[in-house]
């Protein structure tokens, strides 16, 4: 196991290195300096700013500095909002996004599995058709579009939910739902086909041949095996929830990291963009690693590559 984790950590570092380097060089290619779009600075001040941000140094020195900074988790200062360090922004807003993200994931997995199981057990009857329609809807409508529509119909028009802001649990319902819905649909579809497949397998037939009741077979045998693919999906789910948060947080005016990220893009605030990108990458890469390890505990057949048994 240790060997496996070490191997994966190496891959993660490699991937991070690629991301950091790519981000750095891409930023350098970006036309103009981040200060150019704003008011015209007198040349001396611009000179001073350039120096402060080390923009006058040759590229390799900037790169070295950047690598060192990143490795020590120093994501620099926002270029737009002076005296605001990227680290502070992250510290402030990430917990909000984390809460929203976890809510969304619970919704997606909880309802997704429920719908999928119901669908499979009432195969080709009306619950199946209803559930499949909901799933298809989820998969087809992008989360950010759904967010806008939900905000309009359920909050603005119907008044059932607050339109925007983050002042309590009720404020998180619509955004979490918007983010979760498409993943819920995918998980439902996945669970359904997995359940159907397992239902037709020999060991389920054998379980019935043992005289075990229909529902007991489902919960004791079929479900456990059918959920394995869902566990595999948790990695992409995390990524999806992260990216889903960007626009949804914006639409619902939620003070999360996603909102800051989107703003930094609009502002071309390079340090924040780079810092947030690296931060997100770390989270996603570790999420995938954790899911893989989790999966190896759940499926006794899996021996992780590079692990000694």
């Amino acid at each position: 196991m240790i060997k496996y984790i070490l191997k994966r950590l190496m891959y993660i570092l490699l991937a991070l290195f690629v991301i950091v380097t790519a981000t750095f060089f891409l930023m350098r290619l970006a036309p103009g300096s981040p200060f150019a779009s704003e008011r015209n600075f007198p040349p001396q001040i611009e000179e001073k700013l350039n120096e402060t941000y080390g923009l006058n140094n040759p590229w390799y020195i900037q790169y070295k500095d950047y690598l060192i900074d990143t490795a020590s988790f120093n994501f620099g200062e926002s270029m737009k909002y002076k005296a605001r360090s990227t680290n502070d922004m992250i510290n402030e807003s990430f917990p909000v996004s984390l809460t929203l993200g976890i809510e969304a994931m619970l919704l997606a997995v909880g309802f997704g599995v429920l719908i999928g199981v119901v669908s499979a057990l009432y195969h080709n009857k009306w619950p199946d058709y209803l559930a499949t329609s909901i799933a298809v809807l989820g998969i087809s409508v992008p989360s950010f579009i759904l967010a806008g529509l939900m905000q309009y119909f359920l909050a603005y028009k119907a008044g059932w939910f607050p339109v925007s802001g983050w002042k309590g649990f009720g404020y998180s319902v619509l955004p979490a739902l918007a983010i979760a819905f498409s993943h819920m649909g995918f998980i439902a579809k996945l669970t359904r086909s997995s359940m159907l497949e397992q239902n037709n397998s020999d060991y389920v037939k054998m379980a019935r041949a043992k005289g075990i009741g229909k529902w007991t077979v489902v919960f004791r045998h079929t479900l456990r095996n059918a959920l394995l693919p869902v566990v595999t999906y948790l990695g992409p789910l995390t990524a999806g929830v992260v990216t889903g948060s960007f626009i949804v947080e914006n639409i619902f005016a939620i003070p999360g990291l996603g909102k800051h990220f989107v703003q930094s893009i609009t502002n071309r605030d390079y340090t924040v963009i780079m810092g947030t990108t690296v931060f997100y990458s770390i989270i996603l890469l570790f999420a995938v690693l954790i899911v893989d390890i989790l999966y190896s505990f759940i499926d006794p057949r899996i021996k992780l590559k590079g692990a000694k048994n």
Binding site: D202, Y203, K210, G211, I212, R224, N225, P300
Partner: protein
């Protein structure tokens, strides 16, 4: 005279498919006594698997339909029973051994639990007692280090070992009838022999009746007391092992015997095969279903289905060749040779 525990009367089973109504089992009759082994032989599509699954009402309905007939187990007809009532019978009085040990065990559940599951379902015992019994069973089926194996997962067992586990599961609740659906087909020949030995031992010690489904006549000779030969959803010949091997009467049985590979074959003797393919059961042929592949078919075979003719007290065959007006066909050479071989081996064995 030992008790008859199973009587199947005129069982007919259909399947609704997109292609039409498939008549998979078309009027099957047989019985089984306590402690005996009945082998049901036939090729793919003969209806043997459907019959065996039907005995435990494991055919999914839809698309399966129990058209007519009775399955009398200890005098009680199983056909009208509900699923809930059947669940009390399955695993408990009738148990099944499936064909492919690689897929018939739950990959994420420990082997021990898969055995105790059966015990706890049908017997009022404590978990500890069930575990004890499970370990006994593992020993009985020949698995070494049973306490250790109890906590292992199926993928940690080889194919032959897995099949032994499957047998242990089948025996767990002391069933009166064991249905073995091609239990050795997926295994290597050497393992096959071991599993067959195991089953014979079990039968000797616990007097379980066994229905053994197979397409391999060699296996039949090894384990069976009586044999039913199935073709196109019907039993075409029925009798003791001796009846079938020394005095076969149906041309299909001749074909089966003639096509058995034999180590004593002459190198230049061609292996006889039965030409053609089984009929499409959405439209069962008029008359004798085997007619098209039967070199000895007569005009009447294409017109009317033959009844079961009685050859002896124990031996029956469903062919017009046994009608008094039919020509007397001598046994084909290949079959006669085969029988000579059997007789010789038997004599050797007895010396």
């Amino acid at each position: 005279m030992s008790k008859t525990i199973l009587e199947v009367k005129d069982l007919k089973i259909n399947f609704k498919t997109y292609a039409g109504l498939v008549h998979a089992v078309r009027g099957v009759n047989f019985d089984l006594k306590e402690g005996e082994t009945l082998a049901i032989v036939g090729e793919s599509g003969s209806g043997k698997s459907v019959t065996s699954n039907a005995l435990m009402k494991l055919i999914p309905q839809p698309p399966g339909i129990y058209e007519s007939g009775q399955i009398l187990f200890n005098g009680r007809d199983l056909v009208p029973l509900s699923d809930k009532e059947m669940a009390k019978v399955r695993g408990n009085e009738i148990a099944m051994i499936f064909q492919d040990p690689m897929t018939s065990l739950n990959p994420t559940m420990k082997v021990g639990r898969q055995i105790t599951e059966v015990i706890l379902q049908h017997k009022k015992v404590s978990k500890a007692e069930a575990k004890k019994r499970a370990i006994e069973l593992l020993t009985q089926v020949g698995i070494p280090f049973p306490e250790k194996r109890y906590n292992q997962y199926p993928h940690e067992f080889s194919g032959g070992m897995r099949q032994r586990v499957v047998i242990a599961i089948a025996l767990a609740a002391d069933p009166k009838l064991l249905i073995a659906d091609e239990p050795t087909t997926a295994l290597d020949v050497t393992i096959q022999a071991q599993i067959l030995e195991l089953m014979k031992e079990i039968q000797k010690s616990s007097k379980t009746s066994i229905i053994f489904i197979t397409h391999d006549l060699g296996v039949v000779a090894n384990v069976a007391d009586r044999v039913a030969v199935m073709y196109a959803g019907q039993i075409v010949e029925y009798g003791t092992v001796n009846d079938i091997f020394y005095n076969p009467k149906h041309p299909y049985t001749w074909g089966l015997l003639g096509s058995m590979p034999d180590l004593d074959n002459n190198e230049d003797e061609l292996l006889r095969t039965i030409p053609g393919s089984p009929p499409d059961l959405t439209n069962p042929p008029k008359g004798d279903a085997f007619a098209a592949r039967n070199e000895f078919a007569m005009a009447i075979d294409y017109e009317q289905e033959p009844p079961m003719f009685q050859v002896s007290e124990t031996h029956f065959a469903k062919t017009w060749l046994l009608h008094p007006d039919a020509p007397k066909i001598p046994l084909p050479d290949a079959v006669a040779k085969r029988i000579e071989g059997f007789v010789a081996k038997e004599a050797e064995f007895n010396d």
